[in-house]
Amino acid sequence: MQLDGKTPSGPLQNKWDKYRFETKLVNPANKRKYSIIVVGTGLAGASASASLAELGYDVKAFCIQDSPRRAHSIAAQGGINAAKNYPNDGDSIWRLFYDTVKGGDFRAREANVYRLAQVSNNIIDQCVAQGVPFAREYGGMLANRSFGGAQVSRTFYARGQTGQQLLLGAYGALSRQIGAGKVQMFTRRELVDIVIVQDKARGIIVRNLITGEMERYAADAVVLATGGYGTVFYLSTNADSCNVGAAFKAYKKGALFANPCFTQIHPTCIPHTSDYQAKLTLMSESLRNDGRVWVPKDPTDSRRPNQIPEEDRSYFLEEKYPSFGNLVPRDVASRNAKEQCDAGRGVGPTGYAVYLDFADAIKRDGQDVIRRKYGNLFDMYQNITDDNPYETPMMIYPASHYTMGGLWVDYELQTTIPGLFSLGESNFSDHGANRLGASALMQGLADGYFVIPYTIGPYLATNGVSEVTADHQAFHDAAQKATEQDQKLLAINGNQTVREIHVKLGKIMVENVGMARNAAGLKQAIEEIKSLREEFWQDVKVPGTASDYNLSLQKAGRLADFLEFAEVMALDALERDESCGCHLREEHQTEENEAKRDDDNYCHVAAWEYDGYGNTPKFHKEPLVFENVELTQRSYK
């Protein structure tokens, strides 16, 4: 298969204009004849549904939660980037583009990233007009901060609730279209299959989570905005319902899955402490602006942190990276924390945590200043851990947070299945091997507000209105298959709950496909995943029936997907025999344990094609061509 990214020709700055000028438009009077299904109502899906409906398309939107406002985007804390350059500190579209490509360790497509930087400014305008209460300066202008070690202040924020406020803005726009009858909203629905008729995406099958019924919906195009797959690690910063299901169903129907091994592990999360822990809560990255990360030098040191004198502490990030110190990028901070803990210097009841200490900042600025900056986070930390971070250092440990990999899409955000598009975290498009802080919100809204409304048009205009309805045999077959899987799961009646098996999968993934990977570990993981999959299909216990609200059954379906998908992740990590961004292969590191890229052999997107259950998927490459930036080695020394 030849993968064509469909990047328009010409200078980088003109590509998006050129694309918009040259593509076929849908006659405005005809737009209402086209129906579009949008799965997901996070930033990407809600903004897409609203914008497409405003244009006149007939939109059906779907989400798992009881309301579109609860998509996982709601949890994003820190902020959203844009190249406004309001602080006049040297930012520009080019710089945002460059930082994103470099931050992704040169594993993303230049043209897509440039477009992202171009539309970033429109996003802020749009959100402000919707009434998103961004933080302001005294004069009434928008406030900006520097985030994730960026050297310019380009991050817009709404307290520690930026994702919530942006999502509520998009939800407002979506609600307006629902109220106007332009969008039909289906909540508490989970996609269980995508229906392909004559090689084109023509609709979806969803489980009605309340009645258990398999419902069939047809449309002229299908858009997936279903988020990331971070919960493959079981514990993560993601919400409970996050899953790979929709993207994985697309993959099984022939859409290629790109760079599945690129996953981001966030350095500052509340560590794992108890058996029944359901999540690892994120403590915003901004804490590293004032907190100092350290561990005791002596692994046997059992004193309380405040009793350990300076000379017995190792501020390992400051020591190793004198110029960036505690502000090194996420992957570097995470890996170093793990290294310390693996060497036995970790703290806390499990030994898998490091201190994040504010004592110096409090001494320097006073408690009030620190409270004003981080009060919410400190309260949240204290509520969860019962420790007071004003008095004793926080304990943090890295956790699965974001997935850069996703469905392969071209410049139009179309997957390899005609008529099937993918937006937001569910695609692989813009962040390469590592995402910078505050760039996921930007990408989700860019895709939904400003890209898909243009790029879906040419497909619709070329293919015309489809005759296929949800009564087509393909829909009945797909619904039947999904029902059969449910029956099979219910009939196993084994000894392990879905959660117990997911915990086992998480362990395999964290140990071998997590922050540091090597060939032997990956090969072992593949074998372990395969046998765990067998175990699941023989020993899982799913109570209840399929004709009712049945969370165990929903979760069993999601886990079944993860148990197949995890293998593709490990395979991809094995195939990528280099280190880049978040993907550290222990065989390829510099003397200082930094990722060592191999641009001669791995400057490509790895895209996997499903080849039947249990078979090794087919591997495809999309070479990455850099015409505008020079590939350099990251260095944060």
């Binding site: 914008s51 009881d66 302001r136 928008l142 307006r176 409970d240 794992h272 058996d275 507000y449």
Partner: protein, 258 residues
């Protein structure tokens, strides 16, 4: 892994079980052993559900998603209080260290005329979405706005708008209100947008449309009991209700003038 030296308690749940909207429902008593005190309330329910699953019984259905107090999906009445005993906290952020060994804990779904019970502790809160659909937004199409800084907003105003915008749409205010009114929820959105210049052109119309829709959807009226404010996990203030009333009055005058 279990943490060493950490507390565990034994408790008894009296939990509402209801198969579906038509079922009458009843309390079921479930003893729960070995609850680690730093489990969250929902992790404790997970623990119960694991046990029920092993016994081949139907797990307790409850809504949740983010488990960090922001999505608004969780929520039950615990010992008579929406979201439980801890102030300004969603149920998912309540921890078991707030309970004592031997406690009997009653758990019920939100009860309000406008919210039907779906199963056990899950209710249908879609009426809240319908209220927003009636006008809880600024009517602006994608692509039309001017530069974001063309419209300065004083910092205090932005902060007040943000206070109101913090509502997570959980519905606890409705569940706690003796009239099952959604006034706090409605007023939060009306206030956020009325405070900001962007929201002003539609302020009057928005207040009327949202309040009327609230009435149509069987929510009750506000008679100043203030329980809503007391249970709100995001500390949305009833000052917003006063602001809503002002908008509503203004709207009334405006429509009479036409």
């Amino acid at each position: 892994m279990t943490t060493t030296g950490e507390h565990t308690i034994n408790i008894t749940l009296k939990v509402w079980r209801q198969k579906g909207p038509q079922d009458k429902g009843r309390f079921e008593t479930i003893p729960v052993q070995n609850v680690e005190t730093h489990e969250s309330f929902l992790e404790m329910l997970d623990q119960v559900n694991e046990k029920l699953t092993h016994e081949g019984k139907d797990p307790i259905a409850f809504d949740n998603d983010c488990r960090e107090g922001i999505c608004g999906m969780c929520g039950c009445v615990v010992d008579g209080i929406a979201h439980g005993p801890q102030k300004a906290m969603t149920l998912c952020q309540l921890h078991m260290r707030k309970f004592n060994d031997g406690d009997v804990i009653a758990i019920e779904p939100w009860r309000a005329r406008a919210f039907k019970v779906i199963k056990d502790l899950m209710v249908d809160r879609s009426p809240l979405d319908k209220i927003i659909q009636a006008g809880g937004y600024v009517s602006v199409n994608t692509g039309s706005p001017q530069d974001a800084n063309a419209l300065p907003v004083p910092m205090e105003v932005a902060e007040k708008a943000m206070d109101a915008a913090a509502c997570i749409g959980c519905g606890a205010c409705v569940a706690a209100c003796p009239n099952a009114s959604a006034m706090l929820f409605v007023s939060a959105k009306v206030s956020q947008l009325a405070l900001l210049p962007q929201g002003q052109p539609e302020a009057a119309q928005r207040a009327i449309a949202m309040v009327n829709t609230m009435d149509d959807l069987l929510f009750g009226n506000c008679s100043n009991h203030r329980v809503c404010e007391a249970v709100c996990p995001k500390e949305i203030s009833i000052v917003n209700i006063a602001r809503l009333n002002r908008e509503f009055m203004k709207a009334g005058f405006a429509s009479e003038a036409v």
